[in-house]
């Protein structure tokens, strides 16, 4: 492979392979090698801190239900939450294209500030670069964050064990459809809003039962299917998922039908999957459903010790087949 393809950034197998073969190879260390959404590091004091980073290149910059500012804060707040950490401090770096409207920049900045306040985190430092027209597409951002992990909390992609329940916090695909419908060439008029929201508060609630929660992941790029596969590979376990139990709005299904997309591979920015010990599943589900971010949560399957590393789906019509990871980028198709 000579050149980077768009598929390398899509969150699926191409990206995973690149990360393993280039970056893990170059930088490998125990914290990085776990390839969780963030790194949890034990300090010499004994306290554990988590840190995470993410970059945002969403197009369009403003979409139904959010914008790049809100997304930038939520992304890192959520990555830290998925490590079991309480997010405290965020950095915000911006790379802006020459000619970008100042009023848009202000709108983005205010949105980021509002989201940070909503999440209870502080933006403590940042960076600003401006590049000539055409060198970036309007505005790209990066946020990094630091949080602390409470004693007793042990949340990682490699913790899933046979018998555990798989809980999903709500509807799949809203964010990606909301973003796509704003792009030229898709021409879909939809009332779907991005689900972009901070998840730290709802996660803190379920971590009040730290012994129950084995793994937390938010299905962003690559979608739910990719996320569940990552967990299976990291944990060396299998999963059985019931398609009929996975919440997808009918409007999202229709949009997928029109574009030739599959809801299992759509990005979400305000949902998470929780792998919990079976005996706590009912309680955890009730806690999640009591919060506005988790009203539509459901148990969608379980972890098993057969077909390790793979997710098997019970389909809507009662058949069974493998639910694989996203390969490259998901392209609209007519066939």
């Amino acid at each position: 492979m000579e050149r980077i393809l768009l598929g390398h950034g899509a969150g699926g197998k191409l990206m995973h392979n690149l990360i393993k073969e280039m970056f893990v190879k170059a930088f490998g260390n125990p914290a990085l090698n776990r390839l969780d959404d963030g790194a949890v590091i034990r300090m010499s004091s004994g306290e554990r801190i988590a840190c995470s980073t993410d970059s945002y290149v969403v197009d369009p910059v403003f979409f139904r239900g959010g914008d790049i500012g809100r997304l930038s804060v939520c992304g890192t707040v959520n990555d830290l939450s998925m490590c079991g950490a309480r997010p405290l401090f965020i950095t915000l770096a911006l790379i802006i294209e020459e000619g970008f409207p100042v009023s848009d920049l202000e709108r983005i900045s205010l949105s980021a500030a509002k989201t940070a306040a909503e999440a209870g985190v502080k933006v403590v430092t940042g960076d600003l670069k401006v590049v000539p027209k055409g060198k970036v597409d309007k505005i790209f951002t990066n946020t990094s964050g630091i949080g602390t992990v409470k004693k007793g909390v042990d949340v990682s992609g490699s913790n899933a064990g046979p018998g555990d329940s798989v809980i999903l916090s709500g509807f799949m695909g809203d964010h990606e459809i909301a973003v796509l419908s704003g792009r030229a060439g898709f021409d879909l008029s939809v009332k779907i809003k991005s689900d972009c929201q901070p998840l730290n508060k709802i996660v803190q609630k379920i971590l009040c039962l730290p012994e129950a929660v084995r793994c937390l992941r938010d299905p962003t790029r690559g979608g739910l299917a990719t996320t569940l596969n990552e967990i299976c590979v990291s944990s060396n376990a299998g999963m059985e998922i019931d398609e009929a139990l996975v919440p997808v709005r009918s409007a999202v299904r229709s949009a997928c039908g029109m574009l030739g997309f599959d809801p299992f591979y759509l990005a979400n920015e305000g949902k998470f999957a929780a792998i919990v010990k079976e005996k706590y599943a009912g309680r955890i589900l009730r806690i999640i459903r009591a919060e506005k971010e988790g009203r539509d949560a459901a148990v969608i399957g379980r972890v098993v010790n057969t077909h390790r590393g793979e997710v098997i789906l019970r389909t809507r019509s009662g058949g069974r087949r493998i639910l694989g990871m996203l390969a490259g980028e998901q392209l609209p198709r007519i066939c």
Binding site: G185, E310, G319, R320, I322, I334
Partner: protein, 395 residues
Amino acid sequence: MKYISEFYDKRIAAGLSGAIKKIAPARELNFMDVCGTHTMSIAREGIKDLLPANINLISGPGCPVCVTPDEDIDRVIGISGQKNTTIVTFGDMLKVPGTRSSLEKERGKGADVRIVISPLDALEICAKNSNRKIVFFAVGFETTSPGIAAAVAEAARRKIKNLFVYSSCKLIPPAMEALLKNRKVKIDGFICPGHVSTIIGSSAYEFIPREFGIPCVIAGFEPLDILQSVYMLLKQIREKRKKVEIQYKRCVAEEGNPVARKILSKVFRPSDAVWRGLGKIPRSGLVLRKEYKKFDAGSRAFPPRSISGRDLALPLRRVGRLVAKGAPNNEAKASNPKCRCGDVLCGIITPDKCGMFGGKCTPESPVGPCMVSSEGTCAAAFKYRHTSNVIRRTF
């Protein structure tokens, strides 16, 4: 979703599964689909789980992307390298490998390649880029080609000067005939393509039961449609009837869609075409009629440039001779001699029997189009494969 959700009811599926098991004979039967969307539906829904072990659902050359020969992809890649030229195509075509490269890779190197969902979108791109040649790489069967014809007719009406069409459009019934004549695989029934049939109707398949004694059922795409179609084929076999039946009656009329066919034949005419895996099939492709020749990107106006020093600019005369000789599988050999896409496309082998399946050839690093196409037989098998120790049968 109306007209969709009713057709994947689990309980009805279980009932159909039981009914199928009751009327299935003991011997092995091969039912072939010739539509990539059927291949995908069958795989995605795990339909084979609901059928008895002796009923094999095999895939034929139903993926228009997979049957596009290397030479077409190479020529379009060549065109992409010309000045002020934009290639416009369906997302399905982006990753398909030609001899050396793909449109996706060329885009990575700076070629202007854009995806559209409808051929009409190409007209908008023409209007917004009047200084560029917009070349639409047209791939599809009879479901899609009327839309391409309508777009060309509209371009003519609007006097658009910068639209060009490279047609790799093909017709399904001639391919079915070629498959039956080459007799390399035993076919006991056809699951006929539902959406192609909304256009061509049922009479297009009449030659199959009449000349070859094989039953046909025109099927929809939801799980219950496919299960009912299998049931209908088994009923025909049991009752020793051989005819063309329509399962997908809510969308397919016997006469098809005459309006669509009229527009199609106004702009295109059938011509011989090379299919990967099947070689040259007479009157199985579509070329622009001479009234629309000015839109034709397959003509001398677009000589391909050379790629990596090797001159791919086959003079059109030589291409013509290759086609006339019926270069069967030449294109497969030109790429990778171990690639067995040609045999997979004819249903001669299942994907797992190709030595490269899952090893050298995977969706992330595909060797042949059956793996790279979103609805290729190998892609479906890989993406939706059963692990043999969980479910009783592999693909």
